[in-house]
């Protein structure tokens, strides 16, 4: 006899999808789609942690693409601010792609926008992130570079 599963009708809130990829060498992209509120902020946190772990181990720049985000509550802002602090810890800036009012307005009204570099589209954010790339420890600088 199989046990019937009765899922909560609205169990985990509205969908929030996150995906980490490396669209080009030296940059890690976290794409986020959906509504970020108290229920879904944990999923943003998990995606951001994954992206930052990759970025840190590879010495890459990070871009968080919020183009698909249709709501951003303080719980989501807190996750992004925590990410900005962590990235600042390894000497970089967190880059956000924020085109819609649902994202730009919360950033602006709380003053959190000062903590991020914000871009209108993914391509320009990735181009900026690629400039972060530092040679991994122990690797010699490219030839032609003036040594000490």
């Amino acid at each position: 006899m199989s046990e019937a599963v009765t899922p909560e009708p609205f169990g985990v809130g509205l969908p929030l999808d996150t995906q980490v990829s490396r669209p080009r060498a030296g940059s890690v992209l976290l794409e986020v789609d959906g509504e970020i509120d108290t229920l879904t902020a944990a999923r943003l946190q998990a995606g951001l942690d994954e992206a930052l772990d990759v970025a840190r181990s590879e010495g890459s720049g990070v871009v968080v693409d919020l183009s698909g985000v249709t709501f951003l509550a303080s719980s989501g802002l807190a996750v992004l601010i925590g990410g900005a602090r962590r990235v600042a810890g390894f000497g970089a800036r967190l880059r956000l792609v924020a085109a819609s009012r649902a994202v730009t307005r919360p950033l602006q009204v709380t003053g959190a926008d000062a903590l991020f570099d914000t871009f209108d589209d993914v391509a320009s954010a990735l181009a900026a992130a690629a400039l972060d790339v530092a040679p991994p420890p122990g690797v010699a600088p490219p030839s032609g570079e003036v040594g000490r």
Partner: protein, 140 residues
């Protein structure tokens, strides 16, 4: 809420849900819809939606598990007043206002106020939030 607030001839909308975070998206969608149809500017619509989300999330955290979340929208010319309320988890439950979320709420709303009502016979203690939002930025 006084009779004066409900009977003043302005449009009033009340939404009652279980006090669970899973239903807050429904409430904030109502807030957004009302603001849009009351000709709020786009920033004010966004702010009200976020403020209502913030207020409801704060209340759900403080609510008795089987409580109802009651959210009243009083739509007036150029502004909307929101009154949200839950039954408190404990008789002495106090809303914490030293959180990041509360500071955001204060930034988003024109005015925001915490309301505590002690238990009376046959009625549990309640905690509530009242907030006001005007249709557009007040010229400075």
């Amino acid at each position: 809420m006084s009779d004066a607030e409900t009977l003043d001839g302005m449009s009033t909308v009340e939404v009652r849900t279980s006090a669970t975070a899973a239903l807050i998206p429904t409430i904030r969608a109502v807030a957004s819809d009302l603001a849009a149809r009351a000709d709020f500017d786009l920033d004010a619509i966004s702010d009200l939606r976020m403020a209502v989300d913030e207020a409801c999330a704060t209340l759900v955290d403080a609510a008795e598990p089987t409580s109802v979340l009651q959210c009243r929208f009083l739509v007036r010319p150029e502004r909307i007043r929101v009154h949200a309320e839950v039954e408190a988890a404990k008789a002495d439950t106090v809303l914490s206002t030293d959180t990041f979320g509360w500071r955001v709420l204060q930034t988003l709303a024109d005015e925001v106020e915490v309301l505590h009502e002690a238990a009376t016979e046959g009625r549990r203690a309640t905690v509530g939030i009242r907030l006001d939002k005007s249709a557009g930025d007040v010229p400075r």
